[in-house]
């Protein structure tokens, strides 16, 4: 590691040393070229070239030998397994952003100006620092199941709560289609903190006089939220929804750690990994990766449009 850092320091040092020899208008171009050189190299070799290659590979067979047209894409939309993957991904992308944003917004409003606001926020915020793998293990422990026999105690909290109330423990992660929702909970748990932080800042940015005027008009708390708070923070809500949506689309760690995509919980990002690196079906894997890419684009375009619209106002 130290050698790598030394090599890197030497490269940057020489770039700076060479660049410092140039001056004036003509020098600008040389400095620009030198400063951009490493970035341009890395981006074109590490991002653009492999990206284009994957797009091409998605039209080839499992080993990249024969051109198969759109067969891989056909598989994605016709095979039963893949359709299940698509349905699950849709559930993830529809549920996670809205619930996480809803909880984050609710919590941001509830703790706004509370005496322990900073602490209360840190509590929700902290899961963001935890890896998806760590969070998955934390929640798998909540869902753990022990056979329902005399003398065997439940060690998972959720099942123990059921037992306390006189119900039978259940295998939460095995029963489709509910198990997908139990996985989605983990993502919501992580993303709510992000939503809360951004929305809380947006709420605090609402001008005082607007709030004051509404208050003098005798607006109810709900009316205040509906007609003052929500319209004011709309751009921030859109940013939060789309950002979480994009993150959720690529969710991989949670599914892999908790069920490995079994029991009908698979999603596109995990199926991509399985097909590419485990099932050795490069063509299908590439098509799934491209599908992820294509699905991101409309969300981003919507996001940019909303930002433009809010700036124009």
């Amino acid at each position: 590691m130290l050698i790598a850092i030394a090599i890197f320091a030497a490269i940057v040092g020489s770039i700076l040393a060479i660049a410092s020899r140039f001056g004036g208008k003509r020098g600008d171009r040389w400095v620009a070229a030198l400063f951009l050189l490493p970035v341009a190299l890395m981006l074109s070799v590490g991002l653009i070239y492999p990206g284009v290659l994957t797009m091409i590979n998605s039209f080839f067979d499992a080993h990249g030998d024969a051109f198969v047209g759109v067969d891989n894409y056909k598989t994605i939309f016709t095979s039963d397994d893949e359709i299940n993957v698509l349905i699950n991904t849709v559930i993830w992308v529809l549920v996670t952003p809205f619930v996480a944003t809803g909880v984050g917004l609710l919590y941001a409003i509830l703790v706004d100006k509370a005496r322990i606001e900073a602490f209360a926020k840190a509590v929700i915020f902290l899961p963001m620092a935890i890896s998806l793998v760590g969070a998955s293990i934390i929640w798998r422990f909540v869902y753990t199941y022990r056979p329902d026999q005399p003398g065997v105690k439940q060690v998972g909290l959720l099942n123990q709560i059921l037992v306390w109330f006189g119900f039978e423990p259940r295998q939460w992660l095995l029963e489709s289609p509910l198990n997908t929702f139990f996985l989605v909970v983990v993502m919501i748990w992580i993303q709510a903190g992000f939503a809360m932080t951004v929305l809380s800042a947006a709420i605090k940015a609402i001008p005082d006089d607007v709030v004051e005027a509404a208050r003098l008009d005798g607006v109810s708390p709900w009316g205040m939220f509906r007609f003052v708070t929500l319209p004011s923070i709309r751009p921030a809500v859109v940013v939060v929804l789309t950002t979480i949506g994009i993150g959720t689309l690529k969710v991989f760690d949670i599914v892999r750690t908790m069920t490995n995509g079994n029991f009908k919980t698979n999603v596109v990002a995990n199926e991509f990994y399985t097909q590419t690196f485990r099932a050795d079906n490069q063509g299908l894997g590439a098509a799934l990766a491209v599908l992820l890419f294509i699905l991101v684009i409309p969300i981003v375009i919507y996001n940019i449009r909303q930002l433009r619209a809010s700036e124009a106002r």
């Binding site: 492999p50 797009m55 793998v133 934390i138 060690v155 690196f277 991101v296």
Partner: protein
């Protein structure tokens, strides 16, 4: 001389909080129901982690036979789980993986931060033909999911004999970070008053000395903000590690994921292992939270 005397603000989708919002305090929901809901949410967000934390310090037999809540009626503390997990050798030892995590994360933060700062400087303050087009390309690259690059990149590493080395991991993490890093640092850099650079230029400073002497000190908060993002991203990453590091160079996340797959009921190991993996980013996060929030508001969340 205080280098932070010039406020470097962000270009957030939301404006920074307005001070003196005392009037709003009266309008907030003060009903007990509101407090109750807030407390329920807070509990839902802490109890799962708390349960695993308690589990990690219980003896293995207790963990197997009773739930963590039994700890409060029969408190038995043991640090044996941590000893097992942190050992460098042994079937369930994860000490080496923690070291691997650090080896992976340090260059993977330094390299993109430095390179992106150079590029962001050029995009923000040096005029040259084609600058705007190039910047839009870099900006657009942010939306490329890394999944699209993995297999061709792996084949490339195999070809140049870098596969299965830290180099493959470092270079991949650095490359994937660049578009967001450049975009974020460019935004921060644009906030610096042009007069400051002009003054330095009049004094005869070239690009390099403006960059190192004028801009870098002012950019410290921005660099910290991105540095934390990248640190958390790399430390917590599974996909890149899985693809490029393999089991030999595996960081903590990969080791944990493997353990979770192979011994899914070994909660004494999983709980202690998770906490070893969690504690480092949480410390970094809590100590630098200020910068992290600023980066977040500047639009820097990697999807």
């Amino acid at each position: 001389m205080s280098t932070t005397s010039v406020p470097v603000t962000t270009t957030p989708p939301v404006a920074p909080p307005v001070a003196g919002a005392a009037a709003k305090a009266k309008t907030k929901l003060t009903s007990p129901w509101a407090s109750l809901v807030a407390i329920v949410i807070a509990l839902l967000w802490t109890i799962p982690t708390f349960g695993l934390a308690v589990t990690s310090i219980r003896p293995e037999d207790d963990i197997r036979t009773s739930g963590w809540w039994a700890f409060f009626t029969d408190p038995q503390i043991s640090f044996k789980n941590y000893e097992t997990v942190l050992a460098a050798k042994g079937a369930s030892a994860m000490g080496n993986f923690v070291v691997n995590s650090f080896i992976i994360v340090i260059p993977s933060v330094i390299i993109p931060v430095v390179l992106a700062t150079l590029a962001a400087y050029v995009f923000a303050w040096v005029k040259f033909p084609g600058r705007d087009v190039l910047f839009i390309v870099v900006f657009a690259l942010q939306i490329v999911p890394i999944q699209v690059t993995l297999l061709p990149l792996l084949k490339l590493y195999v070809k140049v004999d870098l596969a299965g080395t830290y180099w493959a991991v470092w270079l991949s993490h650095s490359t994937f970070a660049l578009p967001l890093a450049i975009f974020l640092l460019h935004n921060f850099m644009k906030e610096i008053p042009p007069g400051l650079l002009e003054a330095a230029r009049v004094d005869g400073a070239g690009h390099v000395s403006i960059f190192t002497r004028v801009l870098l000190p002012l950019l410290t908060p921005a660099l910290a903000a991105f540095g934390i993002f990248q640190f958390l991203w790399v430390w917590n990453d599974l996909l890149v590690a899985l693809t490029f590091a393999g089991n030999e160079l595996a960081p903590m996340t990969l080791a944990l994921a493997n353990l979770s797959g192979s011994r899914d009921q070994a909660w004494h190991l999983l709980s202690a292992g998770s906490f070893v993996a969690i504690i480092v980013p949480v410390i970094v996060f809590l100590s630098l939270q200020r910068y992290f929030v600023r980066g977040l508001l500047a639009g820097g969340l990697k999807g």
